[in-house]
Amino acid sequence: MPPSLLHPPSQLSPSAALQLSQQAPNVLSESLSAVSSSPFSLFSAAETPELWIKYENLLLSCLRTGDERAAHQCLERLTTRFGATNERVMALAGLVKEADAQNPEDLEKVLKEYDEVLSEDSANIPITKRRIALLRSMGRTSDAVSSLVQFLSFSPTDGEGWAELADLYLTQGLYQQAIYALEEVLVMAPNAWNVHARLGEMQYMAATAPGASVSYQKCMAEAIKRFSRSIELCDDYLRGYYGLKLVTSKLLKESAKPSKPSEEGEFALPDTRTMEKLNELASAKLSEIVRRSTAREAGWRGYDELEVAAARDLLSEETSAHSARER
C-alpha cells in the first residue's frame, strides 16, 4: 500500500516518508483559490478538511526528510488559513522552529517560548505536548516525566500522553510505572491489540529484568494472557505471536510449576499442556507468516522486515536447540 498523505506519517519507514515528502512540489503547486470562504466558493470546489490534513502531514514528512523550504510553505498556508493563534498551528510552528534550530541555545530559546505561551494559557494542550517532547529530545528525561505527569493530572483521558509516559518510564527501567501508564492507554482504547501486545512485552521485561522485585510468575502469567488477548483481537499480529512463543518457550524450558496466586484475583500460569499448545500455535503461525511474507504472497506483505527477520531467528534458534538436544 503506498503511503497516503491523509494519515499521520509518524509510523512510516524512512523510504515511505521520503516518498511522501517528494510529493511536496505537486501539492504545493496547487493553487490556493479553493481556500476562500467567501460566497463565491459556491462555484469552485469546496474547501475540505482533508486538504489541511494533507498540508499538516506533508509538513511532518518534509521536516523528517529535511525539506525545510517546503515545510515552511506548508506552515505558511496553515497559518494564513487558521491564524497564528490556533493551538494546533502554534504547535506545528514550534516544531518547525525546533527543526530549524542549529545549536542547543536555539532549542533553549524555543523552550522558553513554549513556557511563555503556557504561562498565558496553561490549557494549551498541543504546546504542552510539544514542550514535553522537546524536553525529552534535549535529554532532560526527568523534567519530561514530571511535566508529563502534571499534564496527565489535568487531562487523564489523553491516551497519547499515557503511551508517551509508559515509554519514558520504560527507558528508565521503571517497569511497574510503565505498566500502569500503559494500562491507562488500554482503559481509553480497550481493543488496541498493539497495546495489549506491548503490555505483554513490558510484563515480560519486568519479570526478567535483573533485580526485579515483583513476582516472576505473576508477570509471566499476565504476559501470556496479554499476548493471547492481542492475538484474539488481531489474528495476524506478528508481535503477539512472537511474544507468546518467547514466553511459553522460556517457561517450558524452566518447566515452571503453576503455583497458587499469592493474592486473590491475580493471574496464575496455565498448566503445562496449555502452554505447549500455545507454543505450538505460535510456532505454526510464525512460520507461516515468515514463509508467506518472505515469498511476498499477496496479502502478506504488510509486515515489517525487521520483525519478520526476528521471528525467523527465534524459530531457527528453537530448531537448532532441538537438534542439539537430540544429538
Binding site: E183, P190, T274, K277
Partner: protein, 262 residues
Amino acid sequence: MTQLPVQTIHRDPQLLYWILFPITLVMILTGVLRHYATILMATAPKKLDQKTLREQRSLLHGIAVRSNFHTLSKPSFVARREALTAAYESGAYLKAPENRGQAPPNPMSDPSSMEGMMGMMKGQMAMIIPNTLIMSWINAFFSGYVIMKLPFPLTIKFKSMLQAGVATRDMDPRWMSSISWYFLCYFGLQSVFNFLLGSDNCAAASQMAAQMGQMGPQQAQMFGPGTDPDKQFLAEAENLAVIEHYSVLDEVEQRLLEGIKV
C-alpha cells in the same frame, strides 16, 4: 354515476414567471444568505481553563475506567477504583472546592451560560426574521389567488395545506396558492441547499430543528450550566463501587486455543 366536470381556471401564464419563479428564487437566496449569516455570527467555542478541563476529564476518566474495566487485571482495577473513589469523594478534582455542597448557581445569572443561550437565540433569530419578512411579503403581494395546478390528483385533506389564503370551498385541492408554494419551498429545499452549500450547511429549516433537538439536551446533561459537578462525581464513585470485576484476560488462553486455527 356522473363524472365531475374537470375544473378549469384560466390563469394568466405570466403568473408562472412573476410569482412562482420569484418566490422560489427568493427562498433559495435567503437560504444561502442564512447559511453565511449563521457562519458569521457563530462564536468560537469558549476556551476552557485548566481547572475546568481537569474537572471534566477526570469525570470522563472515571467513566472510561467504569466501562472498560474488563481490560484490567483485578489488582490494577481495584487500585484505580480506590484512587478514583477517594478523589471523587473528597472533591479533589473540583474546579471550585470551596463551593462544595452549595446549590448550583442559577444558570440564568451565570454569564458563561448566558453566552450559550445567546448563541441559540442568534440561531433562532436567523430563522425567524427572514421567514416573517418573506411571509408578509407574499401575503401583501400575492395572496388571494391560485397560481398553479399540480399535475396529480389529491384528496380533500390537502385543501387546507395547499389553498391557504384562498377561501373557496368547492375548488379542487390540486389548485395551489402562493403561500402554499412558499411552505412547500420552505420544507423542500433541503436537497437544493445540500447541492449548493455542501451537506453540512445551516440553511434549511428542518436541519436546524433537528440539531436543536439532538445536540442540546445531551450537551447540557454532561457539563452544561446548572449541573453540579460534585454530585456527578459522587454518582460516578458509586457507579465504580458497584462494579463486579471480571477480566477479559480470564480464560483467554482457552478461548484462543478453541477459536483460532492455523
